[in-house]
């Protein structure tokens, strides 16, 4: 497996893991306040930030090959 392909596979794995982490059973009944918000809400705000960071990595390291060529071809 090439290094580029390994990175791609790792990022797809991270995407699947982040999808699974959406199920926040651990905070389901937790009423604590964290960073000024109920922890169940603060977790999902942080989740949005994590999603953005993962997307940045996907764009940087796993951008689909050949799109511009495909698009620009007559």
């Amino acid at each position: 497996m090439t290094a580029g392909r390994a990175v791609r596979v790792a990022l797809y794995g991270a995407l699947a893991a982040l999808y699974a982490l959406h199920q926040d059973a651990w905070f389901r009944h937790d009423p604590r306040i964290v960073l000024g918000l109920p922890v169940g809400l603060a977790y999902h705000v942080a989740y949005c930030v994590a999603a953005s960071l993962l997307m940045a990595l996907l764009v940087k390291l796993a951008w689909p090959a050949g799109l511009e060529t495909d698009g620009d071809a007559p």
Binding site: L15, L18, Y19, H22, Q23, D24, A25, F27, R28, H29, D30, P31, I33, G36, L37, P38, G40, L41, H44, V45, Y47, C48, V49, A51, S52, L54, M55, A56, L58, V59, W63, P64, G66, L67, E68, D70, G71, D72, A73
Partner: protein
């Protein structure tokens, strides 16, 4: 003052949309996809503004008032991952194939990829049918909200008429470029407005901490997801944002991108945009109990409006009204343009006048269809009962369940017309069945298990496309050569 702010806002939108006409090149491709020249920032704003509706401001705060913070996980953070992933995996590839083959609509793509006129026609009917309630909800919701915000000064039918007229003016004049420019302005308005409203109201409520403490003391159940959103519902609801991969209006915006690189910013920034719009709505919805603790039924959806009327009437009320208009119009414009585009390309050009129809005739047909669809939508909005609002989640579920057809078309060479037919028919049959059983119950889940109908429809759609493809003849080599490299 409220009315003056609203009129000024509509004037700005109209001016921006009409200004885009100066760049119009007079071709069908320019009218429907801006000659594929839209850059990253405008693409992000167009996609996000088109996707977000007034629900993000009013419905979200109402749900948070009713059920607590769980609504953010249910509807916002799931979209924050799923939508950019769909743009990354599906949007970029459909843009590339669309540019290579000069495509203007979804139906053109599926018709060519699956070598079937009949499938194209079936998809046309299904895609348009699913967008109709969405259009009506926008016009009706916008009109009703304007009536509330202006204290009855603007009747619902006048609000709907004004919105429809403004959208008609800039969409017919500017096509997709006008729509994208106006959407950019409108999306910025409702994003900034959410933050401003949150900051102002938190100040009036004595700060976030004390206000949360007061609500938590009286309603601790609102501070947790708890039983309001059970695990199976949370899990199956994550499939609903997949609908973005089959919305005709989102597809049209994808085709308008200047290059593949234009998608990079939308993919990365989308989760943050969702956070910016939804956090204020959810927090203010929960904190609504600090001021009004007795809202029940449909009245909960007006909690944000009531908070503003109570704590900051006049200018802020006008700005909230502008935000709602922005959210409604930025979806409505793209939806009617997409339908106008589909009628022009997939019906008139494909079935009657392909060779005879020049660029000017295409633009004229598109404008006539946009005007006609808007006029029809407005007239229907006057006689449609308000229970249509419950159709939104059903509309999204239908689109989401059709996504396997697109995924198979893009990624699976062996997928065939029979598989696509099987998936579309399966989704249609299941959709009708589930709707007949649970359409009147907003809390309906399959057999009361907590599983949303979209999960069953999505899995059945995958099974249908796989089985249907494997038992039928593979696509021709010529087609595979066109769509796979």
């Amino acid at each position: 003052m409220t009315l003056a702010v609203l009129v000024a806002y509509l004037g700005c939108v109209l001016a921006i949309g009409l200004a885009s006409h100066r760049f119009f090149r007079g071709t069908g491709e320019d009218y429907f996809v801006a000659t594929r020249t839209i850059g990253p920032f405008v693409l992000l704003m167009s996609l996000f503004g088109t996707h977000m509706t007034a629900f993000s401001l009013l419905g979200a705060s109402g749900e948070a008032y009713r059920t607590g913070i769980g609504v953010f996980a249910l509807m916002a953070s799931s979209s924050a991952l799923v939508v950019p992933a769909v743009i990354f995996f599906v949007g970029t590839r459909l843009w590339a194939v669309g540019k290579r083959h000069g495509l203007l609509t979804q139906v053109q793509y599926f018709r060519a990829r699956y070598e079937s006129d009949g499938l194209g026609l079936l998809l046309f009917v299904v895609l348009v049918a699913l967008v109709v309630p969405y259009l009506l909800i926008g016009v009706m919701g916008g009109g009703l909200t304007l009536t509330q915000i202006t204290g009855g000064q603007v009747p619902g039918w006048v609000g709907g008429l004004v919105m429809t007229a403004v959208v008609m003016a800039y969409v017919t004049a500017g096509g997709l470029r006008g729509t994208a420019w106006a959407n950019t302005f409108q999306t910025l308005v409702f994003m900034v407005l959410g933050a401003v409203t949150l900051a102002y109201l938190l100040d009036r409520l004595g700060g976030l901490g004390p206000a949360l403490e007061r609500v938590a003391a009286a309603h601790p159940e609102l501070m947790v997801r708890g039983d309001a959103v059970p695990p199976l519902k949370l899990l199956s609801y994550t499939l609903i944002p997949l609908s973005v991969g089959m919305f005709p209006h989102i597809f049209m915006h994808w085709l308008s991108a200047r290059g593949a690189a234009s998608f990079r910013l939308p993919v990365v920034a989308y989760p943050v945009c969702i956070m910016i719009v939804w956090v204020p709505s959810v927090v203010l919805g929960v904190l609504g109990h600090d001021t009004f603790d007795d809202l029940r039924g449909p009245a909960v959806n007006s909690v944000l409006i009531r908070l503003i009327e109570h704590h900051a009437p006049d200018v802020l009320a006008g700005l909230l009204g502008a935000g709602v208009l922005a959210a409604v119009m930025s979806s409505l414009d793209s939806q009617v343009l997409a339908i106008g585009n589909m009628f022009t390309q997939d019906v008139v050009r494909h079935y009657g006048f392909h060779d005879q129809m020049g660029e000017r005739q295409q633009v004229l047909a598109g404008r006539l269809f946009v005007g006609g669809v808007l006029l029809l939508t407005y007239l229907l909005s006057l006689v449609t009962p308000t229970r249509i609002f419950s159709l939104a989640v059903w509309s999204f579920s239908g689109y989401a369940a059709l996504l396997p057809v697109a995924l198979a078309a893009i990624f699976w060479r062996r997928s065939t017309r029979a598989g696509a037919y099987a998936a579309v028919v399966t989704v249609a049959v299941l959709w009708i069945w589930f709707f007949s059983v649970g359409g009147d119950d907003p809390a309906y889940t399959v057999g009361g298990t907590g599983v949303m109908p979209v999960a069953v429809m999505f899995l059945a759609s995958i099974a249908a496309v796989v089985v249907g493809s494997l038992v039928s003849r593979p696509p021709s080599e010529a087609t595979l050569a066109r769509f796979f490299r």
